[in-house]
Chain length 271, copies 3
């Protein structure tokens, strides 16, 4: 079975199993994350109080930790949830939003990779560099770094943390430490809408909640978002812009079929 067939099958499993995806995430894009999880066919839940996060994680199929608007209170909840997920074998998907922009973000990201066994880390080039302990060039939550050297970075970090590392940017790089996959779907307009990165992480988690192959889940999530961005852009008339583009991303993903994946995927694995 080739990669696209596997992803198509996984998509159909998400729709059948509707895994619950627990998020401790930022308040900027949380609504988008919930809606994208619903669009792909899974079920989102957001809970961040220390009094309930472990219980909520325990009934979930995957956990997203996203530090986009981290604060002292929710960092504690992230650590507690992550540990509970580890204990129960529930996959944890980490989005180190803005790591490198402030020391607090960098330290929290470091703490998360130290204390929690992650299944997938997804970030832009500078965020992943920071997580890997390298010098990076961030601007708030945006990367100012090119994608050069991304493959080696992803492989190395994946090996060190024994997890899947996904770097998204002009092209996307996914590695489990052995294999490397490149996804060339997507459109530049995605960087002009907030939350396309966060949504990508949530879609990865939706897939991860329906299988145990996190490398495949990461590829599937990134491909899904990339295809949606491409198709959303193609659908625009000249007067439409980022507002309509954003709605079309949800439209596309809520209608996504196996055929769309097979036809549209620009994915290749490196030998």
């Amino acid at each position: 079975m080739d990669l696209c067939e596997k992803i198509s099958k996984l998509l159909s499993n998400v729709k059948k199993q509707k895994p619950l995806v627990h998020h401790i995430t930022n308040y900027v894009t949380v609504n988008d994350c919930a809606n994208i999880v619903l669009a792909i066919g899974a079920s989102p839940v957001m809970a961040d109080d220390i009094g309930e996060v472990e219980e909520m994680t325990a009934i979930s199929g995957a956990l997203v930790l996203n530090i986009g608007t981290l604060n002292e209170r929710t960092v504690k909840s992230m650590i507690a949830s992550g540990k509970k997920a580890n204990e129960l074998g529930i996959p944890v998907i980490f989005d180190p939003v803005g790591a490198g922009a402030t020391s607090m973000r960098t330290e929290v990201a470091e703490r998360i990779i130290r204390e929690i066994k992650l299944s997938v880390i997804r970030g832009n080039m500078s965020e992943i560099k920071v997580v890997a302990g390298e010098e990076a060039n961030t601007k708030g939550v945006d990367s100012m770094d090119g994608i050069d050297g991304g493959e080696q970075l992803a492989i190395g970090l994946a090996q060190r943390l024994n997890c899947v590392v996904a770097i998204t940017g002009e092209k996307d790089i996914i590695s489990d430490g052995k294999r490397v996959c490149i996804v060339e779907n997507g459109h530049e307009m995605m960087s002009r809408v907030t939350g396309t990165g966060c949504m990508c992480t949530s879609v990865i988690a939706s897939y991860a909640g329906a299988c145990r192959d996190f490398y495949l889940s990461a590829i599937a999530g990134i491909l899904t978002m990339g295809l949606a961005g491409e198709k959303a852009y193609e659908s625009l008339n000249p007067k439409e812009g980022t507002g309509t583009f954003r709605a079309r991303i949800f439209d596309y993903i809520s209608n996504l079929s196996a055929e769309d994946i097979v036809k549209g995927a620009k994915v290749h694995e490196k030998a």
Copy 2:
């Protein structure tokens, strides 16, 4: 005057009086709640700090308490606001989001029904079961329970708490403990967009801020959302999905007329 005429009149009163609807609600769907209250013609305000919630409630026409992303800090604010609302005779509309999913949610829901006199409780089948002290089957914030037995459940809880109970699902059940009303508007796609339940609660509160008939307000709010969901779905072309559907819900409600209600309502009261 029949039910639809009453609802039409109430809609026109909302637009005239523009009641202020104070929300202490979750950060996932808060923007949707604000926009739906504006769409129907009322005026939303969100404030959750203990230092101002009582004052904000005191100038409002209705108060929404929604525990979707509850935390220790905002639960205190909910209790304080609810008591202030009771003191001043301002209706309190309660949305027990995810009650049953964690003990914290269940306990907070129990505390709210114990300490605050509610005008309307709206939830899905499993949330209302939990509020009523029954066994329920929840999955995060979604109900896994069918609607069977919903009428007796609504009547019983409404009598016990002396408030209106509304259960939304495949069909919607509203009871004030004596009467029962069934609404059969709505569309399945509403469950694929986050916040349609929260928005329904906010629309009920908008109506409740413009009259003293909370049974009518609950029916009106549920009918309004159901009609919007139906019409939004009918308006979609094959390439459109949940993103456009969501925008159309606001479109429809912002244009809602008395004629739409009379023509579209699938509402009947049971003898």
Copy 3:
């Protein structure tokens, strides 16, 4: 160079420089603020923990303080960020959402104008009256005051605080204490979508991050939002309403050109 030419040039500078705009803002409209900053071509970041706000402000081109859902924790962060911005000469744009609705909001607004040197304050008539220490008539976050006397109010407050004051409403008034500019773009439907005020403040900050002329930035931001509201409304078909209107605001701003500004601006300065 006339005003419209200056604004067109400033727009092009925003797109070139992509200033980072740090927000400490409310959770109701935060996603809209992020998306509008991206639409105009700048780069948003939201961070509110006391452990990182100063560092985040230090790397930003402008800081937005918006008290729409203020709480004790974030007020501290606002004060710390504002002071850091002052220290580094970074413009601070203040949106006193709901000032006057509760004593807490009024007091926080007073504290901010006392402790922080602001570049621009933007609010509706009642919010600006409250900031100026006058009697006002607010309803939650909406103004019940007409725009009469607005010019004198804006001039007086601008002189007293040595900053630019912008009052938005049926028409918009901008003053730096000497000059007064009136903007007559906009559409009534903007008041039926939450966050158009907050977004306006964020657009002002995007402009202010790319120049040192805050009077021009305020005019540019208000004109941009006003034009977007007008054009979004004109684009609607009879079945569309506030949901589509909202998406079109982003569409329009993401496509905004110098020509649109020159053709559409209804702006005049008073002698």
